[in-house]
């Protein structure tokens, strides 16, 4: 074997990998500059370039790296919340009875995959303004399409599994009885820093 073809195979794969890596860096300038700015902040001689407008999440049609979503499930009966940070996601499903099921998992490339105790799971997708998918908690299947929210403390509340974060969905408006639970006012738990 004159030519070392296995070595050529390795080198071809390495070259392909490096080329794709460079292409990825070029293709994601927003995130790169964000992290480059964070990285060079401590480096010497990097003060010449100002940090690029300090936007917390990169603009664009892709999925945000950091976002919170919450809202009622389709048809009511439970509230879902998902908080995305980098490649990770945490969240809960909160039933009408006030039982919270906590979930954690991955958020990658616009897809959510979370799991919790007793076979609870949440799968779906998310974009800049919306997350949708399916959840299963306490043996019940839900579908959800929930908006992005800017709710201070939601992420921290999920991290800490704060019971008050479990806000059961508001009772239907056609419920004329006196038991109409107006749950909108309970924001005492807000304000937790990330």
């Amino acid at each position: 074997m004159r030519r070392n073809t296995p070595l050529l195979t390795l080198l071809a794969g390495a070259a392909l990998g490096v080329a794709l890596l460079i292409a990825s860096m070029v293709a994601t300038p927003g995130t790169r500059s964000q992290y480059a700015a964070a990285g060079t902040a401590t480096g010497p001689g990097a003060t010449a370039s100002p940090s690029p407008s300090a936007s917390p999440s990169p603009a664009g049609p892709h999925s945000p790296l950091q976002a919170d979503f919450t809202g009622p499930v389709t048809g009511g009966g439970a509230t879902v919340a998902v908080s995305v940070r980098g490649g990770k996601a945490i969240g809960f499903v909160c039933t009408a009875s006030g039982t919270a099921t906590w979930l954690r998992g991955a958020a990658a490339a616009g897809l959510l995959q979370l799991a919790g105790r007793d076979h609870a799971r949440l799968t779906g997708s998310y974009l800049d303004h919306r997350a949708s998918g399916r959840a299963r908690a306490s043996g019940t299947q839900y579908r959800f399409a929930i908006p992005r929210v800017h709710q201070a403390g939601l992420h921290a509340a999920i991290v800490n599994r704060t019971a008050a974060a479990c806000q059961p969905p508001a009772a239907p408006v056609d419920n004329g009885g006196g038991g109409g639970g107006d749950n909108g006012g309970g924001h005492h738990h807000g304000g937790g820093g990330d």
């Binding site: 195979t9 390795l10 794969g13 999925s63 990770k88 991955a106």
Partner: protein, 192 residues
Amino acid sequence: MTAQPGAEAPLPPQSTGSSAAKLVIPCLIGALVALTLGVYGHIHQPTGIAVNLAGFSGPQPAKAWLATGAFIAAIIQVISALVMYGKIKVQAPPWIGGLHRWSGRIAFLLAVPVAVHCLYALGFQTFSTRVLIHSLLGCAFFGAFTVKMLVLPKKDMPGWLLPTLGGLAFTALTGVWFSSAYWFFSTFGIKR
């Protein structure tokens, strides 16, 4: 883990010192490859996005299909190797060597873009058992494959060595596929 065969090399009676010494450098390089991938995936801040392949609805299905292609090529690897070693009692066709080489190259080259996306966009993660196993085996696969490629051209190596290295690479790739593409298809459905 790829450095362990060096310790077991004295076992075969005919291949002493010299072949064991020849194994040290490939194993070190393979271990370095696996370690480099893992460390890079750990320290690099995941971007969540990377270059994508046309024709797919997103990077996850693209990766799942690429990985499935690599896995199928790897199965061809095992079968062709079994034929070459006479473990499957059929008349080995003259093109079996070419089939083995090219299925290996295809498997490797299909796996590379998947790994680049994993490491660049997602990183080495540990938040669930599946993800931890996937991260570890993904790094181990490229380490084991590197060792096998570096050992292949060497003469006078013990006969069990290449099947062992190939088996390690195949086992790692199988685990990688089941912990990612199989999980993806069974969770989100078989879609492009």
